[in-house]
Protein backbone atom coordinates (compact mmCIF):
# COMPACT_ATOMS: atom_id res chain seq x y z
CA UNK A 1 0.00 0.00 0.00
CA UNK A 2 1.23 3.48 -0.89
CA UNK A 3 2.46 5.58 2.01
CA UNK A 4 -0.39 7.64 3.43
CA UNK A 5 -0.18 11.24 4.59
CA UNK A 6 -3.43 13.21 4.66
CA UNK A 7 -1.46 16.48 4.45
CA UNK A 8 0.26 15.61 1.16
CA UNK A 9 -2.61 17.23 -0.73
CA UNK A 10 -0.92 17.05 -4.14
CA UNK A 11 -0.88 13.24 -3.98
CA UNK A 12 -4.68 13.03 -3.97
CA UNK A 13 -6.65 12.92 -7.24
CA UNK A 14 -10.15 12.01 -8.33
CA UNK A 15 -13.69 12.26 -7.02
CA UNK A 16 -15.32 9.31 -5.26
CA UNK A 17 -18.92 8.54 -4.44
CA UNK A 18 -19.75 5.93 -1.83
CA UNK A 19 -22.64 4.06 -3.46
CA UNK A 20 -24.74 2.62 -0.67
CA UNK A 21 -26.59 -0.66 -1.20
CA UNK A 22 -29.17 -2.19 1.07
CA UNK A 23 -30.24 -5.81 0.55
CA UNK A 24 -28.37 -5.74 -2.75
CA UNK A 25 -30.20 -2.71 -4.15
CA UNK A 26 -28.22 0.48 -4.91
CA UNK A 27 -29.84 3.39 -3.04
CA UNK A 28 -31.09 6.29 -5.22
CA UNK A 29 -28.92 8.76 -3.27
CA UNK A 30 -25.96 7.13 -5.05
CA UNK A 31 -27.24 8.29 -8.46
CA UNK A 32 -27.80 11.82 -7.12
CA UNK A 33 -24.25 11.93 -5.76
CA UNK A 34 -22.75 10.53 -8.97
CA UNK A 35 -24.55 13.25 -10.97
CA UNK A 36 -23.14 15.91 -8.64
CA UNK A 37 -19.72 14.23 -8.52
CA UNK A 38 -19.61 14.21 -12.34
CA UNK A 39 -19.79 18.02 -12.41
CA UNK A 40 -17.00 18.32 -9.83
CA UNK A 41 -14.83 15.77 -11.67
CA UNK A 42 -15.35 17.65 -14.96
CA UNK A 43 -14.37 20.97 -13.36
CA UNK A 44 -11.24 19.34 -11.93
CA UNK A 45 -10.47 17.29 -15.06
CA UNK A 46 -10.27 14.07 -13.04
CA UNK A 47 -11.92 10.65 -12.88
CA UNK A 48 -15.20 9.97 -11.09
CA UNK A 49 -15.28 6.65 -9.21
CA UNK A 50 -18.12 4.85 -7.51
CA UNK A 51 -17.38 2.61 -4.53
CA UNK A 52 -19.79 -0.26 -3.91
CA UNK A 53 -19.46 -2.65 -0.98
CA UNK A 54 -21.56 -5.75 -0.65
CA UNK A 55 -21.81 -9.45 -1.28
CA UNK A 56 -22.74 -10.78 -4.70
CA UNK A 57 -24.35 -7.50 -5.76
CA UNK A 58 -26.03 -7.83 -9.19
CA UNK A 59 -23.32 -6.90 -11.73
CA UNK A 60 -25.91 -5.07 -13.84
CA UNK A 61 -26.51 -2.68 -10.93
CA UNK A 62 -22.77 -2.09 -10.57
CA UNK A 63 -22.35 -1.43 -14.29
CA UNK A 64 -25.36 0.93 -14.32
CA UNK A 65 -23.40 3.34 -12.10
CA UNK A 66 -21.46 4.20 -15.29
CA UNK A 67 -24.73 5.41 -16.81
CA UNK A 68 -25.01 7.94 -13.97
CA UNK A 69 -21.53 9.31 -14.56
CA UNK A 70 -18.93 7.00 -13.01
CA UNK A 71 -15.78 6.42 -15.09
CA UNK A 72 -14.73 3.60 -12.79
CA UNK A 73 -16.35 1.51 -10.08
CA UNK A 74 -14.50 -0.20 -7.26
CA UNK A 75 -16.70 -3.10 -6.32
CA UNK A 76 -15.58 -4.60 -3.02
CA UNK A 77 -17.12 -8.01 -2.62
CA UNK A 78 -17.14 -9.99 0.63
CA UNK A 79 -19.78 -11.95 2.58
CA UNK A 80 -18.77 -9.76 5.55
CA UNK A 81 -20.03 -6.68 3.66
CA UNK A 82 -23.50 -8.05 2.85
CA UNK A 83 -25.08 -6.02 5.65
CA UNK A 84 -23.70 -2.72 6.88
CA UNK A 85 -21.47 -2.67 9.95
CA UNK A 86 -19.45 0.38 10.96
CA UNK A 87 -16.32 -1.71 11.57
CA UNK A 88 -16.40 -3.60 8.27
CA UNK A 89 -17.34 -0.70 6.01
CA UNK A 90 -15.03 1.82 7.69
CA UNK A 91 -12.04 -0.51 7.43
CA UNK A 92 -12.62 -1.25 3.76
CA UNK A 93 -13.30 2.37 2.78
CA UNK A 94 -10.33 3.73 4.74
CA UNK A 95 -7.97 1.07 3.35
CA UNK A 96 -9.08 1.92 -0.18
CA UNK A 97 -8.73 5.69 0.37
CA UNK A 98 -5.24 5.21 1.78
CA UNK A 99 -4.28 3.10 -1.21
CA UNK A 100 -5.87 5.10 -4.07
CA UNK A 101 -5.93 8.64 -2.57
CA UNK A 102 -9.01 10.43 -3.90
CA UNK A 103 -9.23 14.21 -3.32
CA UNK A 104 -13.00 14.22 -2.68
CA UNK A 105 -15.27 11.58 -1.13
CA UNK A 106 -19.05 12.09 -1.19
CA UNK A 107 -21.31 9.98 1.04
CA UNK A 108 -25.12 9.96 1.28
CA UNK A 109 -26.31 11.41 4.59
CA UNK A 110 -28.52 8.40 5.32
CA UNK A 111 -28.63 6.86 8.79
CA UNK A 112 -25.81 4.57 7.64
CA UNK A 113 -23.77 7.21 5.78
CA UNK A 114 -23.89 9.48 8.83
CA UNK A 115 -22.45 6.57 10.83
CA UNK A 116 -19.71 5.72 8.32
CA UNK A 117 -18.55 9.22 7.29
CA UNK A 118 -17.36 10.59 10.64
CA UNK A 119 -15.73 7.30 11.64
CA UNK A 120 -13.67 7.32 8.42
CA UNK A 121 -12.81 11.04 8.58
CA UNK A 122 -11.47 10.59 12.11
CA UNK A 123 -9.33 7.59 11.04
CA UNK A 124 -8.04 9.33 7.90
CA UNK A 125 -7.28 12.52 9.83
CA UNK A 126 -9.31 14.77 7.59
CA UNK A 127 -12.37 17.01 7.67
CA UNK A 128 -15.98 16.08 7.00
CA UNK A 129 -18.84 18.46 6.35
CA UNK A 130 -22.30 17.09 7.08
CA UNK A 131 -25.53 17.55 5.15
CA UNK A 132 -24.19 19.82 2.39
CA UNK A 133 -26.76 21.51 0.17
CA UNK A 134 -24.33 22.87 -2.46
CA UNK A 135 -20.84 21.89 -3.65
CA UNK A 136 -18.34 23.73 -5.85
CA UNK A 137 -14.68 23.45 -6.78
CA UNK A 138 -14.60 26.19 -9.42
CA UNK A 139 -14.36 29.71 -7.92
CA UNK A 140 -16.34 31.38 -10.74
CA UNK A 141 -19.18 28.89 -10.31
CA UNK A 142 -19.10 29.45 -6.56
CA UNK A 143 -19.34 33.20 -7.10
CA UNK A 144 -22.31 32.65 -9.39
CA UNK A 145 -23.95 30.58 -6.65
CA UNK A 146 -23.36 33.36 -4.09
CA UNK A 147 -24.79 36.02 -6.43
CA UNK A 148 -28.01 34.04 -6.65
CA UNK A 149 -28.41 32.87 -3.10
CA UNK A 150 -26.53 35.15 -0.70
CA UNK A 151 -26.34 38.69 0.62
CA UNK A 152 -22.56 38.77 -0.05
CA UNK A 153 -21.35 41.57 -2.31
CA UNK A 154 -19.47 39.20 -4.61
CA UNK A 155 -17.84 41.89 -6.81
CA UNK A 156 -16.21 43.54 -3.78
CA UNK A 157 -15.10 40.40 -1.98
CA UNK A 158 -11.75 38.68 -2.40
CA UNK A 159 -11.76 34.99 -3.31
CA UNK A 160 -8.67 32.80 -3.33
CA UNK A 161 -8.23 31.06 -6.67
CA UNK A 162 -7.98 27.37 -5.91
CA UNK A 163 -9.92 24.18 -6.44
CA UNK A 164 -10.64 23.41 -2.79
CA UNK A 165 -14.07 21.90 -2.36
CA UNK A 166 -16.45 24.60 -1.15
CA UNK A 167 -19.12 22.84 0.90
CA UNK A 168 -22.20 24.90 1.74
CA UNK A 169 -24.72 23.96 4.41
CA UNK A 170 -27.17 25.60 6.77
CA UNK A 171 -25.40 26.42 10.03
CA UNK A 172 -26.07 27.83 13.50
CA UNK A 173 -29.25 25.87 13.98
CA UNK A 174 -30.27 26.60 10.41
CA UNK A 175 -30.38 30.38 10.75
CA UNK A 176 -27.44 31.13 8.44
CA UNK A 177 -25.62 29.42 5.59
CA UNK A 178 -21.92 28.59 5.87
CA UNK A 179 -19.42 27.46 3.26
CA UNK A 180 -16.83 25.11 4.78
CA UNK A 181 -13.43 24.20 3.34
CA UNK A 182 -10.87 21.57 4.28
CA UNK A 183 -7.73 23.14 2.79
CA UNK A 184 -4.91 21.24 4.52
CA UNK A 185 -6.05 17.62 4.43
CA UNK A 186 -7.28 15.10 1.90
CA UNK A 187 -9.64 13.66 1.03
CA UNK A 188 -12.21 16.43 1.43
CA UNK A 189 -15.26 14.58 2.68
CA UNK A 190 -18.87 15.59 2.63
CA UNK A 191 -22.26 14.04 3.20
CA UNK A 192 -25.38 15.08 1.30
CA UNK A 193 -28.98 14.28 2.24
CA UNK A 194 -31.15 12.25 -0.13
CA UNK A 195 -33.18 14.46 -2.47
CA UNK A 196 -30.84 17.47 -2.30
CA UNK A 197 -28.99 16.85 -5.59
CA UNK A 198 -30.74 16.06 -8.86
CA UNK A 199 -30.09 12.83 -10.76
CA UNK A 200 -29.04 13.47 -14.37
CA UNK A 201 -30.57 11.34 -17.16
CA UNK A 202 -29.15 7.84 -17.52
CA UNK A 203 -26.50 7.63 -20.27
CA UNK A 204 -26.12 4.24 -21.92
CA UNK A 205 -22.74 5.10 -23.48
CA UNK A 206 -21.41 5.82 -19.99
CA UNK A 207 -22.62 2.45 -18.80
CA UNK A 208 -20.90 0.67 -21.69
CA UNK A 209 -17.50 2.24 -21.07
CA UNK A 210 -17.35 2.14 -17.26
CA UNK A 211 -14.37 0.22 -15.86
CA UNK A 212 -15.30 -2.18 -13.07
CA UNK A 213 -12.54 -3.20 -10.65
CA UNK A 214 -13.60 -6.03 -8.39
CA UNK A 215 -11.63 -6.09 -5.17
CA UNK A 216 -11.48 -8.74 -2.46
CA UNK A 217 -10.82 -6.87 0.78
CA UNK A 218 -8.41 -7.78 3.57
CA UNK A 219 -11.29 -8.09 6.02
CA UNK A 220 -11.84 -10.83 8.59
CA UNK A 221 -14.65 -11.58 11.04
CA UNK A 222 -12.30 -10.48 13.87
CA UNK A 223 -12.31 -6.93 12.47
CA UNK A 224 -16.03 -6.59 13.20
CA UNK A 225 -17.03 -6.07 16.83
CA UNK A 226 -20.77 -6.08 16.37
CA UNK A 227 -23.09 -8.80 15.21
CA UNK A 228 -26.21 -7.88 13.25
CA UNK A 229 -29.00 -10.08 14.60
CA UNK A 230 -31.91 -8.82 12.53
CA UNK A 231 -32.95 -6.09 10.09
CA UNK A 232 -36.66 -5.35 10.24
CA UNK A 233 -38.88 -3.07 8.21
CA UNK A 234 -41.23 -0.84 10.14
CA UNK A 235 -44.82 -2.09 10.27
CA UNK A 236 -46.05 1.46 9.70
CA UNK A 237 -45.86 2.66 6.11
CA UNK A 238 -43.40 5.56 5.82
CA UNK A 239 -44.62 8.73 4.16
CA UNK A 240 -43.12 9.26 0.68
CA UNK A 241 -42.35 12.96 0.88
CA UNK A 242 -39.62 12.97 -1.77
CA UNK A 243 -41.84 11.37 -4.43
CA UNK A 244 -44.96 13.42 -3.60
CA UNK A 245 -46.58 15.82 -6.09
CA UNK A 246 -48.09 17.93 -3.31
CA UNK A 247 -46.81 18.34 0.26
CA UNK A 248 -48.90 20.02 2.96
CA UNK A 249 -46.69 20.75 5.98
CA UNK A 250 -47.58 21.85 9.48
CA UNK A 251 -45.45 23.81 11.91
CA UNK A 252 -45.53 25.19 15.41
CA UNK A 253 -48.69 27.09 14.45
CA UNK A 254 -50.72 23.96 15.19
CA UNK A 255 -49.63 23.96 18.85
CA UNK A 256 -53.00 25.25 20.12
CA UNK A 257 -54.52 21.93 19.01
CA UNK A 258 -51.98 19.67 17.27
CA UNK A 259 -54.45 16.86 16.59
CA UNK A 260 -56.92 19.15 14.89
CA UNK A 261 -54.18 20.95 12.95
CA UNK A 262 -52.85 17.66 11.59
CA UNK A 263 -56.36 16.45 10.75
CA UNK A 264 -56.97 19.64 8.76
CA UNK A 265 -53.62 19.25 6.96
CA UNK A 266 -54.49 15.65 6.13
CA UNK A 267 -57.85 16.72 4.74
CA UNK A 268 -56.23 19.41 2.56
CA UNK A 269 -53.53 16.97 1.42
CA UNK A 270 -56.25 14.47 0.57
CA UNK A 271 -58.13 17.06 -1.50
CA UNK A 272 -54.95 18.01 -3.40
CA UNK A 273 -53.68 14.44 -3.82
CA UNK A 274 -50.68 15.00 -1.57
CA UNK A 275 -49.08 13.94 1.69
CA UNK A 276 -48.47 15.61 5.05
CA UNK A 277 -45.06 16.99 6.00
CA UNK A 278 -43.90 18.77 9.14
CA UNK A 279 -41.38 21.24 10.45
CA UNK A 280 -38.82 20.16 13.00
CA UNK A 281 -40.83 21.66 15.88
CA UNK A 282 -43.66 19.24 15.08
CA UNK A 283 -41.55 16.07 14.91
CA UNK A 284 -39.51 17.10 17.96
CA UNK A 285 -42.77 17.42 19.91
CA UNK A 286 -43.79 13.94 18.63
CA UNK A 287 -46.97 15.32 17.07
CA UNK A 288 -45.89 13.46 13.90
CA UNK A 289 -43.21 10.76 13.42
CA UNK A 290 -39.79 11.89 12.20
CA UNK A 291 -40.21 10.53 8.64
CA UNK A 292 -42.60 13.48 8.06
CA UNK A 293 -39.92 16.10 8.71
CA UNK A 294 -39.03 18.49 5.89
CA UNK A 295 -35.83 20.51 6.24
CA UNK A 296 -32.08 20.27 6.45
CA UNK A 297 -32.23 17.55 9.09
CA UNK A 298 -35.28 15.94 7.50
CA UNK A 299 -36.20 15.45 3.86
CA UNK A 300 -35.55 17.76 0.94
CA UNK A 301 -38.58 17.99 -1.32
CA UNK A 302 -39.41 19.77 -4.56
CA UNK A 303 -43.07 19.06 -5.18
CA UNK A 304 -45.35 20.86 -7.64
CA UNK A 305 -47.19 22.48 -4.71
CA UNK A 306 -45.88 23.00 -1.18
CA UNK A 307 -48.24 24.32 1.47
CA UNK A 308 -46.64 25.66 4.67
CA UNK A 309 -49.16 25.94 7.51
CA UNK A 310 -48.05 27.75 10.64
CA UNK A 311 -44.37 27.40 9.71
CA UNK A 312 -42.20 30.46 10.41
CA UNK A 313 -39.58 29.56 7.80
CA UNK A 314 -36.15 29.18 9.45
CA UNK A 315 -33.34 28.46 6.95
CA UNK A 316 -33.32 24.96 8.42
CA UNK A 317 -36.80 24.42 6.98
CA UNK A 318 -36.36 26.51 3.82
CA UNK A 319 -33.34 24.36 2.86
CA UNK A 320 -35.73 21.44 2.52
CA UNK A 321 -38.51 23.01 0.46
CA UNK A 322 -37.52 26.27 -1.24
CA UNK A 323 -37.14 24.65 -4.67
CA UNK A 324 -40.81 23.64 -4.74
CA UNK A 325 -42.58 24.94 -7.86
CA UNK A 326 -45.38 26.80 -6.08
CA UNK A 327 -45.26 27.60 -2.37
CA UNK A 328 -48.37 28.62 -0.45
CA UNK A 329 -47.87 29.90 3.09
CA UNK A 330 -50.44 30.46 5.81
CA UNK A 331 -49.19 32.16 8.97
CA UNK A 332 -50.62 34.42 11.66
CA UNK A 333 -47.46 36.51 11.73
CA UNK A 334 -47.28 38.82 8.68
CA UNK A 335 -43.50 39.23 9.10
CA UNK A 336 -42.70 35.48 9.18
CA UNK A 337 -39.74 34.71 6.86
CA UNK A 338 -41.78 31.99 5.14
CA UNK A 339 -43.63 34.74 3.23
CA UNK A 340 -40.36 35.68 1.53
CA UNK A 341 -40.06 32.18 0.09
CA UNK A 342 -43.75 31.86 -0.71
CA UNK A 343 -45.37 32.32 -4.11
CA UNK A 344 -48.67 33.12 -2.38
CA UNK A 345 -49.14 34.14 1.21
CA UNK A 346 -52.21 34.31 3.44
CA UNK A 347 -51.95 36.07 6.79
CA UNK A 348 -54.30 34.34 9.17
CA UNK A 349 -54.91 31.64 11.75
CA UNK A 350 -54.62 28.27 10.06
CA UNK A 351 -57.50 26.91 12.16
CA UNK A 352 -59.75 29.54 10.60
CA UNK A 353 -58.26 29.61 7.08
CA UNK A 354 -58.10 25.87 6.47
CA UNK A 355 -61.75 24.87 6.72
CA UNK A 356 -62.64 27.52 4.08
CA UNK A 357 -59.70 26.56 1.89
CA UNK A 358 -60.60 22.86 2.02
CA UNK A 359 -64.24 23.63 1.26
CA UNK A 360 -63.46 25.80 -1.78
CA UNK A 361 -60.88 23.38 -3.20
CA UNK A 362 -63.26 20.46 -2.79
CA UNK A 363 -65.97 22.44 -4.59
CA UNK A 364 -63.65 23.09 -7.55
CA UNK A 365 -62.50 19.46 -7.63
CA UNK A 366 -66.11 18.31 -7.60
CA UNK A 367 -66.89 20.57 -10.57
CA UNK A 368 -63.94 19.32 -12.64
Amino acid sequence: MAEYNAMDTAAFKGVWVFCEQREGAIQTISYQLLSEGRKLANDLGVELCGVVMGSEVNEGYVKALGGYGADRVYYIDSPLLKTYTTDGYAKVLCDLVQDKKPEIVLIGATNLGRDLGPRCAARLHTGLTADCTHLDVDVEKYKGFLRETSNIDVENTAFEENTNLKMTRPAFGGHLMATIICPRFRPQMSTVRPGVMQTQPFDEAGMNKVVIEKITPALTAEDIHVQVLDVKKSARKMVDLIGADVVVSVGRGISADPKKGIALAEELAGALGGVVGASRAVTDADWLPSDHQVGQTGKTVHPRIYVALGISGAIQHLAGMQDSETIIAVNKNASAPIFEAATYGVVGDLFKVLPDLIKEIKAIKAAQ
Partner: protein, 261 residues
Protein backbone atom coordinates in the same frame (compact mmCIF):
# COMPACT_ATOMS: atom_id res chain seq x y z
CA UNK B 1 -18.77 -0.25 35.79
CA UNK B 2 -19.17 3.29 34.46
CA UNK B 3 -21.54 5.08 32.14
CA UNK B 4 -19.75 8.13 30.72
CA UNK B 5 -22.11 10.60 29.05
CA UNK B 6 -20.81 13.34 26.71
CA UNK B 7 -23.16 16.33 26.71
CA UNK B 8 -23.21 19.78 25.14
CA UNK B 9 -24.71 23.05 26.17
CA UNK B 10 -26.27 24.65 23.10
CA UNK B 11 -27.98 27.93 22.29
CA UNK B 12 -31.73 27.48 22.26
CA UNK B 13 -32.11 27.80 18.50
CA UNK B 14 -35.86 27.27 18.82
CA UNK B 15 -36.04 30.66 20.49
CA UNK B 16 -34.77 33.98 19.23
CA UNK B 17 -31.46 33.77 17.42
CA UNK B 18 -29.01 36.63 17.86
CA UNK B 19 -26.60 37.26 15.00
CA UNK B 20 -23.46 39.41 15.27
CA UNK B 21 -22.61 41.94 12.55
CA UNK B 22 -19.95 39.57 11.16
CA UNK B 23 -22.60 36.95 10.50
CA UNK B 24 -21.72 34.52 13.29
CA UNK B 25 -24.12 33.54 16.02
CA UNK B 26 -24.02 35.66 19.16
CA UNK B 27 -24.00 32.80 21.67
CA UNK B 28 -23.64 35.09 24.65
CA UNK B 29 -26.93 36.82 23.83
CA UNK B 30 -28.91 33.61 23.65
CA UNK B 31 -30.47 31.35 26.23
CA UNK B 32 -28.73 27.99 26.60
CA UNK B 33 -30.16 24.53 27.09
CA UNK B 34 -28.78 21.01 27.37
CA UNK B 35 -28.81 19.56 23.87
CA UNK B 36 -32.07 17.57 23.57
CA UNK B 37 -30.59 14.26 22.29
CA UNK B 38 -28.01 14.43 25.11
CA UNK B 39 -30.82 14.31 27.68
CA UNK B 40 -31.83 10.96 26.19
CA UNK B 41 -28.20 9.82 26.56
CA UNK B 42 -28.19 10.88 30.23
CA UNK B 43 -31.50 9.11 30.83
CA UNK B 44 -30.15 5.90 29.26
CA UNK B 45 -27.16 6.05 31.61
CA UNK B 46 -29.40 6.66 34.64
CA UNK B 47 -31.57 3.67 33.72
CA UNK B 48 -28.42 1.56 33.44
CA UNK B 49 -27.44 2.81 36.90
CA UNK B 50 -30.80 1.68 38.29
CA UNK B 51 -30.27 -1.75 36.73
CA UNK B 52 -26.60 -2.31 37.54
CA UNK B 53 -25.56 0.25 40.13
CA UNK B 54 -22.97 1.69 37.74
CA UNK B 55 -21.48 5.14 38.20
CA UNK B 56 -22.79 7.89 35.89
CA UNK B 57 -20.32 10.59 34.87
CA UNK B 58 -21.37 13.56 32.75
CA UNK B 59 -18.68 15.22 30.63
CA UNK B 60 -18.89 18.42 28.66
CA UNK B 61 -16.50 20.69 26.81
CA UNK B 62 -17.38 24.35 27.11
CA UNK B 63 -16.81 27.63 28.90
CA UNK B 64 -16.92 27.73 32.74
CA UNK B 65 -20.69 28.54 32.91
CA UNK B 66 -21.36 25.07 31.45
CA UNK B 67 -20.85 23.89 35.04
CA UNK B 68 -24.47 24.91 35.65
CA UNK B 69 -25.65 22.36 33.12
CA UNK B 70 -23.52 19.64 34.73
CA UNK B 71 -25.05 20.47 38.14
CA UNK B 72 -28.54 20.15 36.63
CA UNK B 73 -27.65 16.74 35.22
CA UNK B 74 -26.30 15.71 38.65
CA UNK B 75 -29.65 16.85 40.09
CA UNK B 76 -31.25 14.38 37.70
CA UNK B 77 -29.07 11.62 39.15
CA UNK B 78 -25.57 11.70 37.61
CA UNK B 79 -22.87 10.95 40.21
CA UNK B 80 -20.17 13.35 39.10
CA UNK B 81 -19.23 15.80 36.42
CA UNK B 82 -16.21 16.69 34.32
CA UNK B 83 -15.91 20.11 32.71
CA UNK B 84 -13.34 20.22 29.92
CA UNK B 85 -12.46 23.86 29.55
CA UNK B 86 -9.54 25.82 28.21
CA UNK B 87 -8.58 28.59 25.81
CA UNK B 88 -6.53 26.06 23.84
CA UNK B 89 -9.69 24.10 23.02
CA UNK B 90 -11.57 27.05 21.50
CA UNK B 91 -12.52 27.04 17.82
CA UNK B 92 -12.46 23.24 17.56
CA UNK B 93 -14.42 21.60 14.75
CA UNK B 94 -15.90 18.12 15.21
CA UNK B 95 -12.56 16.41 14.56
CA UNK B 96 -10.68 18.48 17.15
CA UNK B 97 -13.57 18.29 19.63
CA UNK B 98 -13.55 14.50 19.46
CA UNK B 99 -9.77 14.43 20.06
CA UNK B 100 -10.26 16.45 23.25
CA UNK B 101 -13.32 14.58 24.52
CA UNK B 102 -11.66 11.22 23.80
CA UNK B 103 -8.65 12.37 25.84
CA UNK B 104 -10.99 13.37 28.68
CA UNK B 105 -12.68 9.96 28.57
CA UNK B 106 -9.23 8.33 28.63
CA UNK B 107 -8.37 10.34 31.74
CA UNK B 108 -11.60 9.24 33.43
CA UNK B 109 -10.57 5.71 32.43
CA UNK B 110 -12.50 3.13 30.41
CA UNK B 111 -13.03 -0.33 31.89
CA UNK B 112 -14.04 -3.50 30.01
CA UNK B 113 -17.75 -3.15 30.85
CA UNK B 114 -18.02 0.62 30.43
CA UNK B 115 -20.28 2.43 28.00
CA UNK B 116 -19.86 5.91 26.55
CA UNK B 117 -23.16 7.59 25.71
CA UNK B 118 -23.65 10.59 23.39
CA UNK B 119 -26.67 12.26 21.85
CA UNK B 120 -27.02 11.62 18.13
CA UNK B 121 -26.42 15.26 17.20
CA UNK B 122 -26.49 18.77 18.66
CA UNK B 123 -29.10 21.24 17.47
CA UNK B 124 -26.59 24.05 16.82
CA UNK B 125 -24.51 22.11 14.28
CA UNK B 126 -26.63 19.05 13.44
CA UNK B 127 -23.54 17.16 12.24
CA UNK B 128 -23.90 13.89 14.24
CA UNK B 129 -20.12 13.54 13.85
CA UNK B 130 -18.64 13.90 17.32
CA UNK B 131 -20.01 10.61 18.72
CA UNK B 132 -18.57 8.35 15.99
CA UNK B 133 -15.32 10.34 15.98
CA UNK B 134 -14.85 9.86 19.74
CA UNK B 135 -15.49 6.12 19.26
CA UNK B 136 -12.80 6.00 16.57
CA UNK B 137 -10.27 7.83 18.74
CA UNK B 138 -11.03 5.44 21.62
CA UNK B 139 -10.83 2.42 19.29
CA UNK B 140 -14.20 1.15 20.46
CA UNK B 141 -17.22 -0.08 18.49
CA UNK B 142 -20.10 2.35 18.02
CA UNK B 143 -23.82 2.10 17.46
CA UNK B 144 -25.60 5.27 16.32
CA UNK B 145 -29.34 6.16 16.33
CA UNK B 146 -29.99 3.83 19.29
CA UNK B 147 -33.66 3.27 20.19
CA UNK B 148 -33.39 0.35 22.63
CA UNK B 149 -30.68 -1.05 24.92
CA UNK B 150 -30.63 -4.39 26.72
CA UNK B 151 -27.74 -5.35 28.97
CA UNK B 152 -26.61 -8.98 28.57
CA UNK B 153 -23.94 -10.97 30.37
CA UNK B 154 -21.52 -10.67 27.44
CA UNK B 155 -22.30 -7.21 26.05
CA UNK B 156 -25.34 -5.30 24.86
CA UNK B 157 -28.19 -5.98 22.47
CA UNK B 158 -29.30 -2.70 20.92
CA UNK B 159 -31.71 -1.53 18.26
CA UNK B 160 -30.55 1.19 15.86
CA UNK B 161 -33.07 3.13 13.83
CA UNK B 162 -33.04 2.99 10.03
CA UNK B 163 -35.14 5.21 7.76
CA UNK B 164 -37.68 2.44 7.18
CA UNK B 165 -37.25 0.18 10.19
CA UNK B 166 -34.50 -0.90 12.52
CA UNK B 167 -31.45 -3.11 12.88
CA UNK B 168 -30.98 -5.24 15.97
CA UNK B 169 -27.38 -5.89 16.89
CA UNK B 170 -25.12 -7.27 19.54
CA UNK B 171 -22.15 -5.13 20.53
CA UNK B 172 -19.17 -5.79 22.78
CA UNK B 173 -18.20 -3.45 25.58
CA UNK B 174 -16.60 -1.04 26.01
CA UNK B 175 -18.57 0.72 23.28
CA UNK B 176 -20.09 4.07 22.37
CA UNK B 177 -23.80 4.56 21.74
CA UNK B 178 -25.46 7.66 20.25
CA UNK B 179 -29.01 8.15 21.49
CA UNK B 180 -32.16 9.56 19.91
CA UNK B 181 -35.42 10.77 21.40
CA UNK B 182 -37.22 7.49 20.59
CA UNK B 183 -34.99 5.75 23.17
CA UNK B 184 -36.63 7.07 26.34
CA UNK B 185 -38.36 9.92 28.15
CA UNK B 186 -35.80 11.97 30.12
CA UNK B 187 -36.65 12.41 33.79
CA UNK B 188 -36.77 15.76 35.55
CA UNK B 189 -34.56 16.92 38.37
CA UNK B 190 -35.75 15.70 41.77
CA UNK B 191 -35.98 17.96 44.83
CA UNK B 192 -33.44 15.90 46.81
CA UNK B 193 -31.32 15.81 43.67
CA UNK B 194 -31.28 19.60 43.53
CA UNK B 195 -30.15 19.74 47.17
CA UNK B 196 -27.42 17.15 46.59
CA UNK B 197 -26.06 18.29 43.27
CA UNK B 198 -23.72 20.96 44.63
CA UNK B 199 -22.13 18.43 47.01
CA UNK B 200 -21.29 16.03 44.17
CA UNK B 201 -17.73 16.07 42.77
CA UNK B 202 -16.96 18.15 39.71
CA UNK B 203 -13.52 18.00 38.09
CA UNK B 204 -12.19 20.56 35.69
CA UNK B 205 -9.89 19.24 32.95
CA UNK B 206 -7.90 22.06 31.41
CA UNK B 207 -5.15 21.83 28.79
CA UNK B 208 -2.55 20.88 31.40
CA UNK B 209 -4.73 18.07 32.72
CA UNK B 210 -5.00 16.49 29.26
CA UNK B 211 -1.77 17.49 27.53
CA UNK B 212 0.04 14.19 28.20
CA UNK B 213 -2.53 12.23 26.19
CA UNK B 214 -1.12 11.51 22.71
CA UNK B 215 -4.41 12.78 21.24
CA UNK B 216 -3.64 16.28 22.49
CA UNK B 217 -1.14 18.07 20.21
CA UNK B 218 -1.17 21.72 19.25
CA UNK B 219 -1.96 20.69 15.69
CA UNK B 220 -4.87 18.39 16.60
CA UNK B 221 -6.96 20.64 18.86
CA UNK B 222 -8.54 24.07 18.76
CA UNK B 223 -8.87 26.23 15.69
CA UNK B 224 -5.36 25.33 14.49
CA UNK B 225 -6.02 21.62 14.80
CA UNK B 226 -9.35 21.68 13.00
CA UNK B 227 -9.29 20.25 9.46
CA UNK B 228 -12.36 22.25 8.46
CA UNK B 229 -12.68 26.05 8.44
CA UNK B 230 -15.54 28.38 7.71
CA UNK B 231 -14.78 29.96 4.33
CA UNK B 232 -17.81 32.26 4.08
CA UNK B 233 -21.02 32.58 6.03
CA UNK B 234 -24.04 34.41 4.76
CA UNK B 235 -27.74 35.03 4.97
CA UNK B 236 -30.04 34.51 2.02
CA UNK B 237 -30.62 37.62 -0.11
CA UNK B 238 -33.62 39.71 0.75
CA UNK B 239 -36.09 38.43 -1.77
CA UNK B 240 -39.21 40.23 -2.81
CA UNK B 241 -42.02 38.75 -0.81
CA UNK B 242 -44.47 36.56 -2.68
CA UNK B 243 -47.92 37.77 -3.54
CA UNK B 244 -50.02 38.31 -0.45
CA UNK B 245 -53.64 37.40 -1.02
CA UNK B 246 -56.51 38.92 0.93
CA UNK B 247 -58.86 35.99 1.09
CA UNK B 248 -59.14 32.25 0.64
CA UNK B 249 -61.45 32.80 -2.35
CA UNK B 250 -58.84 34.94 -4.09
CA UNK B 251 -56.16 32.28 -3.46
CA UNK B 252 -58.32 29.44 -4.74
CA UNK B 253 -59.27 31.57 -7.77
CA UNK B 254 -55.60 32.10 -8.67
CA UNK B 255 -54.72 28.43 -8.15
CA UNK B 256 -57.63 27.43 -10.35
CA UNK B 257 -56.74 29.96 -13.09
CA UNK B 258 -53.17 28.65 -13.14
CA UNK B 259 -54.42 25.05 -13.29
CA UNK B 260 -52.55 24.26 -10.09
CA UNK B 261 -55.57 22.47 -8.61
Amino acid sequence: MKAIVCVKQVPDTQGKVAVKPDGTMDRAAMATITNPDDLNAVEAALQLKEETGCEVIVVTMGPPPAEGMLRELMARGADRGVLVSGREFGGSDTFATSQILAAAVNKIGVGPEDIVFCGRQAIDGDTAQVGPQIAEKLHMPQVTYVTEIQKKADGLVVKRMLEDGYMEMKVQTPCLLTCIKELNQPRYMSVPGIFECYAKPLDIFDYNALKDDPLIETDTIGLKGSPTNVYKSFAPPVKGAGMMVESVSQLVGILNDKHLI
